[in-house]
């Protein structure tokens, strides 16, 4: 039985004694609410005045550059359409994102909202982000590769309110992300995601001498002084160190990618540390500039990492197994 249906049915019979139960959120629900918050924030950001200016469709049109013609033409067409009906369409985009956030927050509509968010994310990944620069060769972890919006779709899949094992007693799914798609599939997705970040760290867009430094310093414009200080100093430290920085980044992402099959907890902590550094390098998504359309990829990578955090039951099982093994070795 899916989580949302179970909760709704239980709610129908709920009395005062059960109200507190629903107040105690399980980990997957907490992550769903965090995702909902990000969607709601994106919707509010989309209502900023800059989004209603001609600069917004121009930014969309620029994302077509470098993509194959068959994929770039629709991007250019849609940017032109948005430019001609800017107020209505941008208000619609913002309202859709707000609705997605509220829909995921409301238990009765979480499934529909997550499904809709996948479709919306795929569309925005194409028409809004030009596939995150993946096909254009400009993708870099520092500029949000593989595209922040595709991570929303990935999260929606990983946090889908269904379990591969209805009894949810499968010890092979020791983390939230494995409940809907299964442990192996979730780990494979993790490997692909972080492995792709390692790959993008080594492309010319990242390894050029001034690539990473230039990207970070460009973020400083329009930021508060404290954030601009961090970005400008980071850019100075990485000046002419593009190759070395890209190798270090690739190694870190590669270890994180492969490490999910070994020590999950330490790998996830490392991933969270990387996301903090990435978010600072991304200028917190440009939120303070008035031109940020979203929070960028780093917070979403953090949510994905948290979805792989070993659950308490899995940790207890692992601890029990380790204790049993140690006692057997001692007895022997």
């Amino acid at each position: 039985m899916s989580e949302s249906v179970a909760v709704a049915r239980a709610a129908a019979r709920a009395g005062p004694a059960d109200q507190a139960r629903f107040a105690a959120l399980e980990p997957r629900r907490k992550l769903q609410l965090a995702l909902a918050l990000v969607w709601l924030l994106d919707g509010i950001l989309q209502f900023q005045p800059w989004m209603f200016s001609k600069a917004f469709p121009q930014m969309l049109a620029d994302s077509a550059q470098g993509n194959p013609a068959v994929l770039a033409a629709p991007i250019t067409w849609s940017a032109g359409l948005i430019g001609h009906h800017l107020t209505v369409l941008n208000a619609l985009f913002a309202t859709i994102q707000v609705a997605l956030g509220l829909g995921i927050a409301c238990r009765a509509s979480v499934k529909y909202a997550l499904g809709a968010s996948v479709a919306w994310s795929l569309g925005v990944w194409w028409f809004g982000e030009g596939f995150g620069g993946v096909l254009a060769g400009t993708a870099s972890p520092v500029n949000g590769a593989p595209g922040a919006v595709i991570l929303y779709a990935l999260l929606a899949v990983l946090l889908w309110p269904a379990d591969t094992d209805p009894a949810d007693t499968d010890p092979g799914a020791p983390f939230v992300a494995g409940r809907a798609v299964g442990r192996r599939a979730a780990q494979a997705l993790w490997l692909v995601l972080w492995g792709s970040l390692a790959f993008f760290s080594l492309t010319p867009a990242s390894r050029a001498p001034q690539a990473i430094s230039g990207t970070i310093s460009a973020m400083a414009a329009g930021e508060p002084s404290w954030l601009a200080w961090i970005d400008s100093h980071a850019a100075s430290a990485l000046a002419h160190q593009g190759l070395a920085a890209s190798i270090v980044l690739a190694a870190a992402f590669g270890i994180i990618a492969a490490g999910i099959y070994a020590s999950a907890r330490s790998v996830i902590i490392a991933a969270l540390v990387m996301t903090v550094a990435l978010w600072l390098a991304q200028g917190l998504g440009g939120i303070f500039t008035g031109m940020g359309t979203d929070v960028e990829s780093a917070p979403l990578l953090a949510l994905i990492a948290l979805a792989f955090w070993p659950s308490a039951t899995a940790a207890e099982a692992a601890s029990a197994t380790a204790s049993a093994t140690a006692s057997e070795a001692g007895a022997a």
């Binding site: 105690a24 600069a55 107020t87």
Partner: protein
Amino acid sequence: MGGPVWLSAIFAAMMLVVAVYCTGRLVVARRWRRPTELDTDGAHVVMGVAMAGMLVSGLRAPLPTGLWEGVFGAGAVWFGAQALRARRGPVTSPWRCLHAAPHLVECVAMVYMFLLLPAAVVIKSAAGRMGAMAVSSAGSRFSFLALLMAVFLLGYVIWLGDRLMPRSPALALAAQPPAASALVAVPSGAATSASTSATASATASAAATASASATAPAACHAAAPAPRCLAPRCALLCKAAMGMTMGYMLILML
């Protein structure tokens, strides 16, 4: 304030609707003796009017400088005291808000906006029509605070959405911290069998609830003998509208 004029007008209209509705709640609650969070509804009346005036200059009330800051400063003190009181023990009155922290943040945000808005308006006027509202250097220094408050308030809206159950009025009410502390939390992963475990655990927790009810607050969500709370879902929607509008205004001020 910055932003498209029509969008500001929509938000201002929404705030006036909230203010009028909350005024009605206060009147009806007194007349029909139906419990409602008096302090929350009263705050929303004042906030609704103030925010409408900030969003649309034509709706700005000609009040002395500093009055709004004083009013919301007092509100912050009130809700801060309520939050501290809630930490010491259960809320005993059905006429007080159960969750004071969000309203405390709302009041602080109002003070913040009133303190920074005049400087921002001057800069925008000097710079001509800009795509984004410019904030003074003082505002830029505190922009992270504005972001934190905006994220908190939008998170509050999400939390309210999680509590909104269209088919179950009981769950649309505010949470009950005292009862929650008396119950055993549902273990992680048990959600899929919640429909069967709900009945079983309800029986198991009945004893704990019975003992807790002796000291449980007579709040809007109390057991049957207590008077029914006044339109809890509508109250929830008002809070969500307030949180979202304030989040939008804080984002504009980043």
